[in-house]
Amino acid sequence: MPRSVHITVPPLSYEAMVKLLRIPKTRQKQLRAMMDEARARLAAEKLNSTSVTSAQEEKLDNASAAS
């Protein structure tokens, strides 16, 4: 058993992939929509946590400046 292999084969195309998965067009659409929603949700969460962290940092800076 090798520790690793170097992969050089090109990836499968979208068409080849859906043929392989035998996934109906309607389900493809649903899943893509689901994934887009999840992307938007995760991006919003990330943005939110970044702004919360910045606000906390600002608060700490102000507190240390005041003391």
Partner: protein, 206 residues
């Protein structure tokens, strides 16, 4: 009967189908798609005497295989019985790879370094990839096993994992099952992982 043609992108996943393994199963699916390869499992292959023939044909059609023996243990439910399916499929694979070394490459995975010496001492000298029983471990070792010049970063792979995981419940609900390993759920998870790898993007492809 001649063996089936080899799919150069295909990775046969020999894993336990149990609840404790679900997050690692998802990590394997997502990670393999991130590396522009395609995972296959035995889910959907019906039981009966032809099942083993079909499993062998599936192994033969895959260029690579991953054998995760981290959960080869005695079942807790009586009668206490060791789980033999994964070592059995590993045995089939090793024999096939010995016969046709250019057609198949296999990898052994474990959770801890020395477990394999105890569970299958005939494999002494084989250096398993150790994932530590974590999603991070699986993704990082996949990057070590399958080297690609255009491989995504570990962080990108983790983000893709979170993305697919966030849709897991909806995929299960749509399939009307709690079984993450069922054929329909595997198909949907695969498509989601392919999409997370940029596969659904008609402009660039994965």
């Amino acid at each position: 009967m001649p063996p089936p043609p080899v799919n150069p992108n295909a990775v046969f996943l020999n894993i336990p189908y149990d609840e404790e393994f679900q997050s690692l199963y998802l990590a394997y699916i997502v990670g393999i798609y991130q590396l522009r390869l395609v995972p296959f499992i035995t889910s959907g292959i019906p039981g009966g005497e032809r099942r083993l023939d079909r499993i062998l044909a599936l192994i033969q059609s895959c260029r690579y295989s991953i054998h995760d023996l981290s959960r080869v243990e005695v079942s807790a439910a009586p009668p206490a019985t060791p789980r033999f399916n994964m070592p059995l499929e590993l045995g089939l694979t090793i024999a096939w790879a010995k016969l046709r070394p250019k057609r198949h490459t296999w990898f052994l995975w474990e959770s801890t370094a020395r477990r394999i010496n105890k569970s299958a001492s005939d494999l002494d000298g084989t250096d398993p990839l150790i994932h530590g029983g974590t999603v991070e471990g699986v993704l990082s070792q996949l990057r070590n096993a399958f080297l690609r010049d255009d491989a995504p970063t570990f962080q990108t792979m983790m983000e893709a994992y979170r993305l697919v995981e966030s849709n897991q419940e909806r995929i299960l609900a749509a399939a009307g099952t709690r079984d993450l390993y069922s054929a329909n759920v595997f198909r949907d998870l695969s498509f989601a992982a392919f999409d997370a790898a940029g596969g659904s993007n008609p402009a660039g492809g994965p």
